[in-house]
Amino acid sequence: MNFFQILSEIEQVDPEVYGRLDSRRSIFKNMAGLGQKLSAAALPLAVGAIFNKAYAQTPVGAGVNDVLNFALKLEYLESYFYNLRPSSLFNANNRAALDLITTDETNHVKFLRDTITALGGTLIAVPATTGVFDYTAKGNFPTVFTDQSTYLTVAQAFEDTGVRAYKGAAPLVMGNKTVLTAALNIHSVEARHASQLRAMRRALATTGTPAPSQGIAVAPYNAAPKSWVSGTDSATANTTRATASNVYGSGVNTNAPTGITFESEANVTQGNLVLSGTTITSAASFPASAFSEAFDEGLDVGTVAAIANTFSVTGTYFN
């Protein structure tokens, strides 16, 4: 078997293959690391592992159509969730807000379907309304439809994940200005939703249950959060969000566009600048949390899929 012949054959169909494998230098490093001890029989498995790792994080043939269909799957996850809301569970302010969010997500599903169709792309099938999504996440949120606070927690996780997903995907569609701008125009709406859901949870946790705008944020923010993500909202990993992965944690950079990394929400390095009261002297007296709050972070498709799959009955809907 000629390893380099394999690579050049793959290059015919995937010009980006060398980028996916990071660099030719690291291919050699991987091969050397596998050890001169490997027998000829073992080598194909090791080679296969390198390619599996390279392609595992990206939908095969990722392009605008795949990104839009992935976004559509996330919108189905959300829109079905909101359409299933038991209205009697919520106080008046929350009921009204959820009505607005439900309309938005239903609209997003239709918009994305129409956009994919208009682009001549292949649409995913409409998922069944039962048997596809499990909003208890295999029993991690048993009271999701019986407790107001739990429902809003899951909703916040969906919206914050959606923001991270659209943000991470924007560079993937920047070659099409119409799709890019549409993606940005959905992304900011998800952020408005996330802000509102956080305010609703804040209010529920505040003495007297005031209106959402008057809720008081309480550190470490996972139960009475700010409207923006403060660090990872918690002193430790945010296990209340999803068991398999941390909604506010870092992603995987393997296939990220050059210069882009998927950091945890606690990140304070933007471009080449480490943000602090020292590097930004006007901010010398600012609380440390402000530097991570001022910027949201994106996520790669694979990590978003892992988070979303915790709500997939099969565990693979988002693959």
Binding site: K167, T181, S188, A191, S213, L275, E293
Partner: protein, 257 residues
Amino acid sequence: MSNTLLNGSKPLETELDRPLYTPIKRRSFFMYAGATAGATALVLAGCSKSDSTPGTVNVGSGDPGVLNYAYALEQLEAAFYTQVRTGTYYTGSTITAAEKSILDDLYYHEVIHRDFFKAAIIGAGATPIQALTPDFSSIDFNSRTSVLGAAKAFEDLGVAAYNGAGQYIASAQYLYIAGKIVSVEARHAAIIRDLVAEGTFVGNDVLTLTSANNSAVTTNNSPANSSLERAMSPREVVNVANTYLAAGSKLDVTSLM
């Protein structure tokens, strides 16, 4: 700039010169040169560093132009929230703990955004635009209604601006950074809108609910009932932003689009 103008002698009026300047007496020239707001436009041939309308700030072109455009808007927001802290709505006794905490965070975030962009522009080897002079004369910083109404306007405008600017960015890295900021501005906008009126975190004024968007740049537009943000082109944004900028600080984005 022609020295004959400074000397006060009658300037040459050739066929080529005539449309480019208005001959002016020396004393009048210095009076106009010293004036700030309200000065009539004084056309000085060849004085601008770039081919922009005199008295305006041209953000430039390409990615550095977009960064300067964002820097300008963040300057405006940072200046606003800085001034909020001096008014009696913020310093007085009627503001709630929640509102004060929100306005504090908005101030911190926008100052950080502003100074980040200045550093990023320098890091990109480009020149940041000047420090802009805002015009907040229409805002009463002692009034909750006025302050929150202005905050809502600035935050919604910022979201629309970033969303409409993405298409002009060539570098994926800069696009990603802009994305990191715009979602924070949208979070700001949502809570400010709730402070103005509960449950208005979204509305037809900012999303395409009951009507389509109608930006002059069609990539910004989506149909009614799609619930997409109403993106605005740089020109459309500065038409609004310039009402909050003093003469001499008004933005020119004609090189961006």
